[in-house]
Amino acid sequence: MPTPAPGDDPAPHANPSTDTTVDQVFREEYGRVVAALVRRFGDIELAEDVAQEAFVEAVSRWPRSGLPPNPGAWLTTTAKNRAIDRLRRESTRDARHAQAAAMLGPFDDDDVDPDTVSSVPDERLRLIFTCCHPALARDAQVALTLRLLGGLTMAEIARAFLVDEAAMSKRLTRSKQKIKAAHIPYRIPPDHELPSRLAGVLATLYLVFNEGYLPSSPDVEVRTDLSAEAIRQARVLASLMPDEPEVLGLLALMLLTEARRPARFADGVLVTLPEQDRTLWDARLVAEGHDLVRACLRRGRPGPYQIQAAINAVHTDAGLAEATDWGQIVALYDQLYAVTPTPVVALNRAVALAERDGPTAGLVALEAVHGLDGYHAYQAARADLLRRAGRVAEAVEAYRTAVELSANPAERAYLAGRLAELSAARW
């Protein structure tokens, strides 16, 4: 099928909603297009530039010509041809570029009608391992992943992480320069390195998700856009690495957490898990999360994300908070603590233990956790258990500390409410 040139006949397939379609295609295809170009040309800046140009061309062309059958392939081929044009132009001026262009080899394989190309190889997996390379700082990994694979603008990333755009732009430029200068490879790590490198990728995605779920910003309760982007990336990763149970575990953990979002806030105040209206939970996400948990547990290679997903599955399995199987949750936290013995896991285990054995048992377990005095969730948990154990004066003190430590407005509102109740009951 010949591609209509711009200005051709009044497109029979023109679609009034092509603008939104282009936006959707951009979200879905940007990472794939950039990754294919980085793979082909080994240059991130060039890949980004020509990918942007291809999308600009799509915006002007598609409303008239209609969507090509495979928009991703069309964009990749269009961008690739732009890159080749650019390199050829430069090669006529400069011997070094001529050499670079020659190294790219013959271009015949690109002389295919882009509308009929059925598929382009998916190179996103390589690119995400480059973006999340341990030689880059974690915040740089997050920014690169959101920029190169998610197509977020510099302004969007800067806003999400509360830094100014110039600073974010500088950080991204420096990271890309490091990738180039230090020759950070663009490949999937070999088997013996894969577990630790994959853990880094998963940690980056989970950080993005959590920043969207309970932002540390004082002005905003949640950032659905960041959580949605993290879930989208986790889905891509799960489709590219379907045999890695921890990838499925992370996706399940995100979905089961996300499913509860509609019940998490009431009039700007955080609603804790036992008090949530469970009919508000997203049943579709819960079902998908449960399927994933079952699928990865069948593989018999448990890891921290799978165990956390399983814990969340026990919660979402209970139609009423009272029906929660706390015994199983404590057992899962024991398992989690065995693989990741961190104070935060010990804190969560103590909270589950309190549900199973009562607040006093929970407080005993909590006293054994060290190093979390300055952590708002620790103080909030302690306050709650002290209150339930009838130790009102200590509970008031702990709520005060928790309110001071919490940076999230909805959480502060919830804690302040508890504090007011206690104070009222006391006097």
């Binding site: 070094r96 390379h133 030689a135 200068a181 230090a182 020759h183 950070i184 490879p185 790590p189 390195e193």
Partner: protein
């Protein structure tokens, strides 16, 4: 092939390890050097005298100004280095891991500007 500077850093006020540990460290570094040469990654390497033996020379003006001491006023100083070839940063990091284990020091990996 990209080249990397693998420099060994330590705090000069750290206590010297016992003699037998120092001997074992020299032997391990010697073995690592031989391995790297056999693998074809070797370009150059050397251990340095303490930073207190350094002299800074400023020849930018008409008169040469020499100053006692290292350029960086820092407790952390470079004690030695390798210049090695590696196909990419992952390979360089793996060399640094082995070098660090051999010399019992932290190793900084820094790429050279590409040959033109």
């Amino acid at each position: 092939m990209p080249k990397y500077l693998l420099s060994v850093w330590s705090r000069e006020d750290d206590p010297m390890p016992p003699d037998d540990e120092v001997q074992a460290m020299f032997a391990a570094v010697g073995r690592f050097n031989e391995e790297v040469q056999a693998e074809g990654a070797w370009v150059f390497a050397g251990g340095l005298h303490p930073a207190s033996t350094a002299t800074v020379v400023d020849g930018r003006g008409g008169d040469v100004v020499t100053t006692d001491g290292p350029y960086a006023e820092s407790k952390e100083q470079m004690g030695g280095f390798w210049v090695l070839e590696a196909p990419d940063l992952d390979a360089a990091i793996d060399l640094a891991r082995r070098g660090s284990a051999a010399c019992h020091g932290k190793v900084e990996v820094r790429p050279f500007q590409d040959d033109v």
